[in-house]
Symmetry: D2
Subunit: 132 residues, 4 copies
């Protein structure tokens, strides 16, 4: 249940007139983190949705420490918190190129059947990858 | 085939570090304009989609004249350009509270069947409203 | 230290392919809430920034209960949590037109001097308005 | 005055409930294109702004051909149209991993002095790079 790192550059559109990344846009960065965490395990979130599973976010907690700036090369580190059941929980840290901690975050997502809209268990093919 | 005016306030998230509204966000403002143009005719875009019709944008042209600022109360004026066939074309002007012209724009959208993904004619219930 | 309610309509651009409002966009809704809370007290956030005070968000917590949908008329209720000192804390609830609870949230923001980038106390003119 | 190619992956937040990338978000993609075009010449847009030059967009034209989808690996090709004077004009094409043409676009931007807000000529250090 490893840690995944993913780096990306801050876009102009993501800044606001305070001259820093708009605080609401961090949600996208943490999503990039967990999507790439999955991809690193050989799973795409796209294929999960295509196979009828959705993963709505049910809680989002962000603590902002330092501002992210335009054109910064950021790294989001994504860590699975525990074995997923009907929910899956991740912790994140976001750092800049100088290694400064910009934010920490936590999200809980729920496995949901796309057709019925009802909660389901974490698919076995994910649990198996986690056991590897 | 009237003109509709719709006013709204600029959000903080819509600005960028130039201290003005990010140019790409104007696309949302013109969409607000045409959605409210429809609503003023007694039609909601939501109900159109629910009834299986989608209206993808096939061209977007914006000319920027003056910057929109945070917390400005903007007005988008939306004008249907001609009787819609398989496409529907709108002209827009965006002004601020002082009446200054911020931008002009034009969009062409295509009527599309949601199931087949194929182009269709403008629904009769829209044409009838336009004749009123 | 009253409660303020503000209503607004969900934009198309705010949805994602799950067919609901993208979870990260709720941050903008809560910002609308506190900006209108301030305005209801006779203060604009714009004038605060123009006068050299910034209010960066230092934590954002959102719990998602039910999906917000395109064209929904939402209401955000914003409640100041305690007398502001160097920080100001708000609780929020977001409901739809049927009165269903969509989300609860909490933000903490810090008063900051724009020039020095250093924390400052809540300006007196805000404290005075709160005492009224 | 070469052509630059830049590839990136579509984010979930960029989609809308039509199941495709929201048309207004393409503006960000073309901005990525011209920012990376500059970087390929050894210039960062960030350093230009830091040195007092801004480049507001004064026109944006997009023709949409085919939908971009979530998780698609897109490539934006950015081509300078002519020698920049007080304005700089770019043509863009956006393609997906299968080589399908998704959109063409054109932007005109103006060189502007950040302090005075007045138009200026394209800086010599850019013209020199173009002559190389």
């Amino acid at each position: 249940m490893g840690l995944n790192s993913y780096s990306f550059r801050v876009r102009y559109a993501e800044t606001d007139q305070m001259g820093v990344v708009y605080h609401g846009n961090y949600a996208q960065y943490f999503e990039l983190g967990r999507v790439e965490w999955l991809r690193a395990m050989g799973i795409t979130y796209k294929s999960m949705e295509d196979n009828g599973i959705m993963l709505p976010v049910i809680s989002l907690h962000i603590n902002y420490k330092k501002s992210a700036l335009y054109d910064d090369l950021l790294t989001v580190k994504t860590q699975l918190k525990s074995k997923p059941m009907v929910k899956i929980e991740f912790d994140y840290t976001l750092i800049n190129e100088s290694g400064e901690l910009l934010a920490t975050a936590n999200t809980v997502l729920a496995f949901m059947d796309k057709k019925t809209g009802r909660p389901i268990k974490c698919p076995d093919y994910i649990l198996e990858k986690l056991d590897d």
